[in-house]
């Protein structure tokens, strides 16, 4: 059909690179993404009341297995999606970071509930203000805690996101590690994300 017409000249724009989204990789993408999104193995990281709702979601009434999450993976090395269900104190931040680092690609993260997503009502000295300052997050599920329907909607959004991924996207599977300065995001970004908001207390820091 004239999509690929090798001319034999190096650098010729007619030569389509092996990662370009031509029709072969598009169908391959579709197949891979279809398989991935329907066989997600969740790694539950339950720290608070959101974990109770997560358990309800996984149990028979709501039945996560319907979405291909047949197996809860309690080992990060056999998991695809990390679900942080509950608040994350700074004491646990290195733990979830290590779990995330242990998960093999492809991997995704769902931040379940207000506390995991933003610190929630716990705008205090002990609590991480949003787990996206620790690990990259794909889907945020609001709620305090979210009902099982909310979490399932988040999972469906993640499946939609996975269906839209492309192997030609070179930024997709890049491992985003903690930088040498000990931060995952730039310091200004962490401070910006952690600003008090809504009903949280406005008080000046002494440092």
């Amino acid at each position: 059909m004239g999509l690929i017409e090798p001319t034999g000249i190096p650098g010729d724009p007619a030569v389509i690179s092996h990662t370009s989204p031509n029709w072969v990789t598009t169908r391959l993408d579709f197949l891979m993404n279809w398989a991935r999104k329907n066989s997600l193995w969740p790694m539950p990281f339950g720290t608070a009341c959101c974990a109770i709702e997560f358990m309800a979601t996984a149990a028979s009434r709501y039945d996560l297995s319907r979405f291909g999450m047949e197996r809860q993976s309690f080992s990060p090395r056999q998991a695809d999606v990390l679900i942080c269900a509950g608040r994350l104190p700074f004491k646990l931040a290195p733990v979830i970071r290590r779990i995330w680092d242990q998960m093999p690609q492809p991997k995704w993260a769902i931040s379940m509930g207000a506390c995991a997503s933003s610190g929630g009502i716990f705008d205090n000295y002990a609590m991480v203000q949003g787990i996206d300052t620790i690990i990259p997050v794909d889907v945020y599920v609001p709620g305090c805690p979210p009902r099982p329907e909310g979490l399932m909607y988040g999972i469906l959004l993640l499946q939609k996101k996975i269906q839209g991924e492309s192997v030609s996207d070179e930024a997709l599977r890049v491992e985003r590690v903690v930088r040498p300065d000990g931060l995952f995001l730039p310091a200004e970004r962490v401070d910006e994300l952690s600003e008090p908001f809504g009903n949280s207390v406005h008080q000046t820091r002494s440092a």
């Binding site: 290195p94 820091r205 002494s206």
Partner: protein, 209 residues
Amino acid sequence: MTAPAAAASPSVAALRTAFGPAIRRHAVVCGDAIVHVDPARVHDVLAWLRDTPGQAYDYLVDVTAVEYRDQERALEVVWNLRALARAEDLRVKAELAKDGPLEVPTCTDLWRGADWLEREVFDMFGVRFTGHPDLRRLLMWESYAEGYPLRKDFPLRGHFSRAEQTRQALGGPAEKHYSLEELSIAEAMHYLPADMRQRLAEGHHGEVA
């Protein structure tokens, strides 16, 4: 407020007879007997309350501390005692002036259960329990460098910026925050990677690069 003698616990009168001026004042608040004692004598008082027949406060319910909003008021360490056989409670308090050393003797030799209770008070208020076998932070991690969170001069969001708090949490090896006991790997020492084993053996936790 000093309650009428009839309402006070009979233990208070007995304490006054036994310890004299070391018993400072007492009160009954909401039906609970409270007795203030000299911080230096608090261990003797607690031992006496536990071991004297007729007192037999054999159960240490809680050890905690209170700092009042009034900056001039002393910090109080509180021991809640209960005599199980009589179902009777007594609250012992010791006032520690904030300009002096925040130190009281430990009562872990009287009640083993005081171990973690005293560690929590140390963690949150900075009160040192002299003679405690293992006075480490309990709730906050070992390398926590911002001070004592329940003190009134501690800002709710902590002293450091969020970026610095995140950096301290993520930077360096994770085990620097924890002791061997906390990681529950004391018996698995031989299976650990050599570098981690060395760091733990050298006690390199409790500091932030």
